[in-house]
């Protein structure tokens, strides 16, 4: 086997997971459709008044993004776990944290990025002003990777458990609250005439923190689940 660098390994894992995801496009689409549906249900539930919808938009989009990222988390490790690939990955001489980081990145590109791209369209349904849309996208770009990374810890802990999906949400959702607060807060700040810089900086800080710690914690969780 060719000795690959750490970065090469990362690219390798990301590419592998992306190829696997592209072979099963339905899974990717289901998450996206779920996101669109949840967001579309809110006006039906609370009424079509544009003033209220405009105020709610950021919160609704963020909560929907949170929920739909939970949906896809169960698949993060389960396929590899079932066919034994995960075990091989853990035996590999390369760092497990790096492999995990690769899987997280691929997961975000498949489940988080489509949501970010879809969000502005849904935001228009809620009559969000263009300024807010821009902040929403930046916020989602910074925040959704954190959801994938924190979620990966939960996915690793609940690997192979019965009722894992519901349990996973129960574990991960409370941990994701700061992301929700700063993400939705950034849009609120802009729409009330303030600067969103502080919220976005904090989201960025959360992203960096998650980037440093979650791959290692997830690797430990995988070791616990696989022993």
């Amino acid at each position: 086997m060719k000795k690959s660098t750490l970065f090469g390994l990362l690219v390798l894992v990301i590419r592998r997971d992306l190829v696997l995801a592209m072979r099963r496009r339905a899974d990717v689409l289901t998450t996206l459709i779920f996101f669109v549906m949840v967001v579309s249900l809110f006006p039906l539930g609370v009424g079509p008044e544009m003033d209220m919808l405009r105020k709610m938009a950021a919160g609704v989009l963020w909560v929907a993004a949170l929920l739909s990222s939970m949906l896809s988390l169960g698949r993060l490790f389960s396929a590899d776990y079932l066919d034994g690939t995960l075990e091989q990955m853990m035996l590999a001489p390369q760092s497990l944290s790096m492999l995990v980081l690769g899987k997280m990145t691929a997961h975000w590109m498949v489940s988080g990025l489509p949501l970010v791209l879809m969000a502005p369209v849904l935001g228009l349904q809620f009559d969000m002003p263009v300024q807010s849309l821009g902040v929403l996208i930046v916020g989602l770009l910074l925040g959704t990777p954190v959801l994938s990374m924190v979620g990966a810890i939960g996915a690793a802990l609940t690997l192979g458990l019965r009722g894992g999906g519901v349990l996973l949400s129960l574990l991960v959702l409370p941990l994701c609250i700061p992301v929700l607060i700063f993400g939705a807060g950034a849009v609120d700040a802009v729409s009330s005439g303030l600067s969103a810089a502080s919220h976005l900086s904090l989201l960025g800080a959360l992203l960096l923190l998650a980037l440093v710690f979650t791959p290692w914690v997830t690797a430990q969780a995988l070791r616990i689940s696989m022993e």
Partner: protein, 245 residues
Amino acid sequence: MAINWFKYSAPTTFYGLAGKMIPWFAISSAILFAAGLYLGFVVAPADAQQGEFYRIMFIHVPTAVLSMFLYLIMAGYAALGLIFNTRLSSMMATAIAPTGALFSFLALWTGALWGKPMWGAWWVWDARLTSELILLFLYLGFIALHASIDDPRRADRAAALLAIVGSVNVPIIYFSVQWWNTLHQGSTIKFSGTSMHIAMQQAMYVMLAACWLYAAAVVLSRVRSIILERERHTLWINELPEVRS
């Protein structure tokens, strides 16, 4: 002769020690509860602003304090269990979780009862209330994860990791919620405890001590049950008088 510091870190010896300690904690807790409730509801004067309503504080504040401390203690035990692989630490963490959840539920409930006459609403999205609610969710997540893994060793380790991640997250959650709150609404009425009457303080400290002792008694008796359940195949359990009869 060297003292064996780790003597009571084995379930075998700790089981007996816990059994001896429980009555002391339980009795002193009962006495302090009686004294604290008497001090709080009879001796302490009515508050200048809040009248008689403030008296729920004598239950509310100790439960809230305990709910937060117990989470940290639970995470500490869980971490010990994860790092040193000591069975008893993990059992302690498991035993603390339901008590912690109970205290955070009580804090929320009494908070709601206090909020209704004071703020005119059962629930206010105040930073403290919200973070207490999230703390309850964290407890429930810990209990749920532990309950859904059949292998106790894996359950201990997985739940321990969750508790540690949670305890790292608690300050982040607390500050984010606080900031979110100040952005969304003006400050709600808060009880300024700076000039509390001396009798109120005494009642509060007595109740706090009572809650601590209650938590210790309950956790120890729960850990005894867990030891019995987990070690039921061992010889020493089957030789215990209470198991034999």
